[in-house]
């Protein structure tokens, strides 16, 4: 049976309040017990309040930690997105720079740096098949002097395009410097290379370079060509092509000389 605490309390306080019982030997015992009981109650209430406030504090702290965690997560996600975008931009800029660093600004053809890389690769792969043609526009200085550098540049670009077009898939062209072009043939037969270079000389000398109204310019090219020989290095191949070009120049220009 559940004790009725309220009724018991009322009974006890009624007894303690009754002056008739004050001389009773059990009165003092009951009174002490009652005071002790009251003290215990108030201690219990105090501990419950303490426990409640402690729980509140923990809940609050968890909430604050949760909020901070959410904030940091949001920032991290955002920073990652921004960082990814920066990396993409950087990668694209690098690719653009790389491409620009391998192209000749005037003609758009591969430049000397690009050709040196290609030479190195081809040389490591299969040096025996390599032909190098060093091509120079004859008396180019005269064109510049007579028509000015802008028209000279136009002629240079046109000659470059014609060489590229005539060589086609047989070889790879680059602007080597000034009015010089270097073509590498890596997988071609000797006859095809010779035929191609003779064609080139004919094509350029037959061409009339013009902007349609102000001028018509004719020019020729000289070509020195070298084919890989045992003990050749890239440098010696280029040097022999250069020497052959020099011979072509000294023997009347507008021709191909093998070195």
């Amino acid at each position: 049976m559940k004790p009725d605490i309220k009724a018991l309390e009322q009974k006890v306080t009624a007894v303690l309040a009754n002056t008739e019982y004050q001389d009773h030997p059990l009165y003092e015992v009951l009174n002490d017990l009652w005071q002790y009981n009251q003290g215990q109650w108030s201690r219990m209430e105090h501990m419950i309040r303490l426990s409640d406030s402690y729980q509140d504090m923990i809940l609050q702290r968890e909430k604050t930690l949760g909020e901070r965690f959410d904030k940091h997560l949001r920032q991290l996600e955002k920073i990652t997105r921004i960082s990814d975008r920066y990396q993409t931009a950087l990668r694209e800029a690098n690719l653009e720079l790389e491409q620009a660093s391998y192209a000749d600004a005037l003609t758009g053809l591969p430049n000397r740096r690009k050709m040196l890389r290609r030479l190195k690769t081809e040389f490591e792969l299969c040096p025996e098949g390599i032909f190098i043609a060093m091509i120079d526009i004859d008396h180019f200085k005269n064109i510049n002097d007579q028509y000015g550098h802008l028209i000279g540049d136009d002629v240079l670009v046109s000659v470059g395009n014609l060489i590229e077009h005539t060589v086609g898939d047989l070889g790879h062209i680059s602007r080597w410097g000034g009015e010089e072009f270097l073509v590498i043939f890596s997988q071609a037969e000797q006859n095809d290379v010779e035929q191609c270079l003779q064609n080139l000389v004919k094509t350029i000398s037959a061409e009339r370079f013009s902007n349609g109204e102000d001028y018509v310019i004719r020019t020729t090219i000289s070509i020195g060509v070298s084919h890989f020989e045992s003990d050749d290095s890239i440098d010696s191949l280029i040097t022999r092509a250069d020497s052959a070009l020099y011979k072509a120049k000294n023997s009347g220009r507008n021709r191909v000389v093998a070195g």
């Binding site: 955002k78 920073i79 921004i82 960082s83």
Partner: protein, 125 residues
């Protein structure tokens, strides 16, 4: 209240504050060696400004590139501005960028996303 006048370098932006007019001005690239140290004065200035008066604050930005730690600092500052705005403060951010540099606008958009105050991203020719 001491105002800031930090001149720009190649890797740090110009930072100027005007507590009388309630304006912060920042311009340039930001990739300091130690962003938290570099921005500590600005962070203190913002906290102090917000704590000591209730006037509006306008942030004029022409920032271009921010490294990761600079982004973190700016996010913390914007979060503080957002809290102030939630408590009734008048806050405005004007982020100007060159229309040829859309990436800056994209960056500004990321910051704007978490702000409910006036955040204007202004392209300039």
């Amino acid at each position: 209240m001491n105002d800031l006048k930090i001149v720009s370098t190649q890797s740090t932006p110009l930072i100027e504050t005007d507590s009388n007019r309630g304006v912060i001005y920042m311009e340039g690239d930001s990739y300091p060696e130690n962003s938290f140290e570099f921005y500590s004065e600005l962070v203190s200035w913002v906290s102090h400004y917000l704590a000591t008066n209730s006037r509006p604050l306008v942030v004029e930005l022409a920032l271009l590139y921010l490294n990761t730690s600079s982004i973190k600092v700016m996010m913390d500052i914007f979060d503080e501005l957002e809290d102030a705005h939630q408590s009734g403060r008048d806050i405005t951010v004007n982020w100007r960028y060159d229309v040829d540099n859309e990436r800056v606008a994209e960056l500004a958009e990321e910051f704007k996303e978490d702000c409910s105050f006036a955040f204007n991203i202004i392209g300039q020719p």
